[in-house]
């Protein structure tokens, strides 16, 4: 028995084990040291956590778009980050106009709803356009082909929007009603964070119910199981795929507004990093799995806000926040190494995945 086990282990497993163990060791030692030094108060840690959850819920909303499309088409929709950007960037002009007219001050609730509507509509338009032009003709092509098209679409959209709206950073107007924060004991939470977390939770709940309990949702799940059999059951596969893109893009548009409210800055390149992070989140949770994307987003947000300080501060790394992207990507590598199907994903066979 022991002999057989030893025979099965090969060079890759050993190398992987060493890489994984050293990374985990680094994390444990770093966290332990940071906590032992006690440079940070409970209040600060709670701040990091709240920030992480807010950031994570934005990631989760974008991640849902990746997961939905991946679940159905088995492809990474690289242009999804630009779908996210297009909504927030376009809605900026409405926000600016409303701020100048004083509408945001007098009716903040309606104004934000209008922004959501504009952003989601733009994102849906762009998302559907990309699907129609770049992906639909390639349904049966080898897998590398749509992936490269997606990268091309992403670049094309980025620089088209740069050409249309200019390459400067645009500052979103401040919403007076969302200023300030609430405090309970050590927990301090800004109003914007409350809005972000609540609206993300609502949207995700809505999506979950839609996919689980409506006829379209059922059809979507059927198509993601097997396109051909779904077509035999009388499902219009193309229409369902378009609806999936609409759903994902609408969530990305909403995430765009939440992102803009939080960071109050938009630019044609703003989609790139959140896009990769959201994809990472989707993989973390198990790609193709809707609750997984939500969970993965939250995890990633937390890791990013708490991680740099917790893991690296104790190791005397200067300016650990610069390395937060490194932590996010390292997480991705670790998850793929030890649980390639993600936190909630079921084990898929190679062919199906």
């Amino acid at each position: 028995m022991r002999q057989r086990f030893l025979n099965r282990i090969n060079f890759t497993d050993i190398a992987l084990g060493i890489i994984g163990a050293s990374l985990v060791g680094l994390i444990v030692v770093g966290s332990f040291k940071t906590l032992a030094e006690g440079n940070y108060t409970t209040r600060q840690w709670l701040d990091f956590v709240v920030f992480g959850v807010a950031q994570g819920s934005i990631y989760a909303l974008i991640a849902l778009g990746y997961t939905l499309v991946y679940g159905i088409l088995r492809m990474i929709n690289f242009a999804h980050s630009e779908v996210f950007m297009s909504g927030a960037f376009t809605a900026y002009f409405a926000a600016d106009a409303m701020a100048k007219a004083g509408f945001i001050r007098s009716n903040p609730f309606i104004a934000i709803l209008i922004l959501f509507a504009i952003s989601m509509a733009t994102s849906v338009f762009i998302g559907v356009l990309v699907e129609r032009i770049a992906y639909r003709p390639l349904r049966r092509a080898p897998r590398l082909v749509p992936l490269i098209t997606a990268i091309g679409a992403s670049f094309f959209l980025q620089y088209t929007f740069k050409g249309l709206y200019g390459d400067q950073f645009k500052a979103y107007p401040e919403v007076a009603a969302l200023k300030g924060s609430w405090t309970w004991g050590d927990l301090n939470i800004t109003r914007i964070q409350v809005v972000v977390i609540l609206s993300a939770a609502l949207l995700m709940l809505g999506l979950y119910l839609y996919v689980q309990y409506t006829k379209t949702g059922k059809a979507m799940r059927a198509v993601s199981e097997d396109k051909d059999v779904a077509a035999l059951m009388g499902i219009n596969v193309d229409a369902i795929i378009v609806r999936t893109f609409v759903l994902g893009a609408a969530l990305a548009g909403a995430a765009g507004i939440l992102y803009a409210l939080t960071f109050r800055q938009v630019n044609f390149l703003m989609g790139f990093i959140p896009g990769i992070k959201a994809f990472t989140a989707a993989v973390l949770g198990g790609i193709g799995n809707i609750p997984g994307a939500m969970l993965g987003g939250l995890f990633l947000g937390l890791f990013e806000s708490v991680g740099p300080i917790l893991f690296l501060d104790g190791l005397n790394v200067p300016a650990p926040y610069q390395l937060k992207d490194v932590i996010a990507f390292t997480m991705l590598v670790l998850v793929l190494l030890f649980r390639p199907s993600g936190i909630l994903g079921e084990r898929l066979s190679e062919k199906k995945a």
Binding site: I148, T149, Q322
Partner: protein, 566 residues
């Protein structure tokens, strides 16, 4: 498919026209037309901006008037005219809208200058709009008439027009090269107009067009005979001819910096570095089918290794002060090591995840070099300065014209290695993995070592390129190694044809060389790259100079459909 054929032909023409119009309006609004307007194709007659608009109308009218063999002539003509009219109409609509509303509040490029271009600098808007509509219709009609010309002539005419535009666009390049030969100044002045900055002169354009068209016609009608005459020669002579032409090409490459001068040599060096990287990535993506989006990481590692080992000053705490040749193997070794370290985890990862992991890896490397954490070793955002250039005896390769030979040697070496690997046992194993991993494994191919070797080989070329890059600039900064570089390399091997070696060279010439000479073009470089990637994948996924196997594979579905149909 079926419902498409039920759409009436005029509705189809209308749709095509609408798409064409949207494309035209978009190219106006992103500032392309205005920016291209500054360059003349034919001095004082037509600018590049106008040419692009013209091309859009022609392309879409051409498609809508294509029809089948037996489509009636009036139908075709009306189709073309209708498409042109609608396209022109949308542009006219943009002008009209711009007159009423100030679009510039949102769309930064909707400038008065753009409207001036679109209205042919006329005062009266109504006349100008009528002009736009008429021009669209007439061009559409003329394009439809193109179908009536015999194919040989049509091809010759299109070819002639393309070459005229190309020569006009590349006039800077041609001028810089040819002004070094004072004997032909007069001919140049005649061809390019007296002022000398503004594209071809009318005479020059006509002359070039006539010559090229005639040549193309001649080669189309008689071209086969040359090829067959070569084929008819005995094998020995054929081989001699082939070797002779290779030798000629090699001799030309050797004397190129002398002809080209410093500026062109510098551009050539840039192209050479991209060829080097392209050859490396071609092994990973083209041969082994592993999509690597973080290729720039190996380039960066090679560059930084070279920098750290040879720098003779600056802020960082390293004083190895090696020579270029000592550091070169180390740079390649570091890149290979990184390739293997990245390769190991990646082996277990499913296809698409690979893309995102490698992308993440590229970003990790860049962020690390940029961070304050490693600043004492890599200089953070200040980078590393004073990097050694290669020396050989008393010869220092520090000018573009001398450095050219180092890059040429690197490229030739990489070409040789890639060429020999292609059909080797390993090359065939890579291709087998690309086609089907499971079957390849069943055939006894060791997936682990084969994939790792692909990564290592690709990384080695990248590292070599990076090392030369560092000593070429004699400084390195983290911002030279952004994601965009990976995409540029990927785009060039895709345009050339995945897995094809000549494709890499052509791709690099097109995507890296051309933008150097077209300042206006380089502004829209990334946008055009994106559009090119989509267009290539939709219409010609095998690239312009495809590898034979790849072409067959990617058109398998078409072939199957054809055989099923007949």
């Amino acid at each position: 498919m079926e419902h498409e054929s039920k759409t009436p032909w005029w509705l189809k023409a209308l749709q095509t026209g609408l798409i064409g119009g949207v494309v035209a309006v978009l190219s106006c609004l992103i500032g392309m037309i205005e920016s291209f307007h500054e360059r003349d194709i034919i001095a004082g007659q037509i600018t590049m901006g106008e040419t692009v608009l013209l091309l859009i109308v022609i392309t879409f009218s051409y498609f809508s008037s294509r029809g089948t063999e037996d489509t009636a002539l009036p139908k075709r003509l009306t189709s073309g005219a209708l498409t042109g009219l609608v396209t022109g109409g949308l542009v006219a609509g943009l002008v009209l809208l711009g007159k009423w509303v100030n679009l510039r509040e949102i769309l930064v490029n909707a400038s008065p200058n753009l409207y001036k271009i679109l209205t042919f600098e006329m005062e009266n808007t109504t006349t100008a709009l009528a002009y736009l509509l008429i021009a669209g219709t007439v061009i559409g009609l003329l394009t439809a008439l193109l179908h009536l010309i015999p194919t040989v002539w049509r091809r010759a005419v299109i070819y002639g027009l393309t070459i005229v535009s190309l020569i006009a666009l590349l006039q800077d390049l041609i001028r810089i090269t040819l002004t070094r030969f004072p004997q032909i100044t007069e001919a140049l002045a005649w061809m390019f107009g007296s002022r000398g900055q503004e594209g071809l002169s009318v005479n020059g354009a006509i002359a070039v067009f006539l010559i090229v068209t005639a040549l193309n016609y001649a080669s189309a009608t008689r071209g086969d005979s040359i090829r067959s005459r070569v084929r008819a020669l005995p094998t020995g002579t054929q081989q001699g001819l082939r070797w002779g032409s290779w030798l000629l090409l090699f001799a030309f490459l050797l004397i190129w910096p002398r002809i080209a001068g410093p500026y062109l040599s510098e551009v050539t060096n840039g192209i050479g570095l991209f060829i080097l990287m392209g050859l490396g990535l071609n092994i990973v993506v083209g041969y082994a089918g592993l999509l690597d989006l973080g290729y720039v990481a190996f380039f960066a590692l090679g560059a930084y290794t070279m920098a750290v080992l040879t720098t003779t000053g600056g802020e960082i705490t390293a004083n190895f002060e090696w020579t270029f040749w000592q550091a070169l193997p180390a740079a390649i070794f570091m890149a290979v090591l990184a390739g293997v370290v990245l390769g190991i985890p990646v082996l277990k990862i499913r296809g698409d995840y690979l893309a995102i992991i490698t992308l993440g890896f590229g970003e990790i490397i860049r962020i690390m070099f940029l961070s304050d954490f490693l600043k004492p070793y890599f200089g953070g955002s200040f980078g590393i300065v004073l990097i050694a250039s290669p020396t050989f005896g008393n010869l220092r390769f520090n000018t573009p014209q001398t450095l050219y030979y180092v890059i040429l040697a690197g490229c030739l070496l990489a070409l040789f290695v890639a060429y020999r690997l292609r059909d080797s046992r390993m090359g065939r194993a890579w291709k087998a993995i690309r086609e089907d991993e499971d079957v390849a494994q069943a055939m006894g191919i060791n997936l682990t070592s084969t994939k790792l070797l692909a990564f290592a080989m690709g990384a080695a070329f990248g590292g070599l390129g990076g090392a030369i890059f560092a000593s070429k600039l004699s400084t390195v900064y983290p911002h030279s190694f952004v994601f965009l570089v990976s995409i540029n390399v990927l785009a060039l091997i895709i345009v050339g044809g995945m897995g094809s070696l000549p494709g890499v060279i052509v791709g690099a010439l097109l995507l890296v060389g051309l933008p150097e000479f077209l300042r206006e073009f380089s502004e829209f470089r990334n946008l055009i790259f994106g559009a090119l990637l989509i267009a290539m994948m939709l219409s010609k996924p095998e690239g312009f100079l495809p590898e034979a196997v790849h072409r067959r594979e990617l058109h398998e579905a078409d072939n199957a459909a054809n055989t099923a149909g007949t």
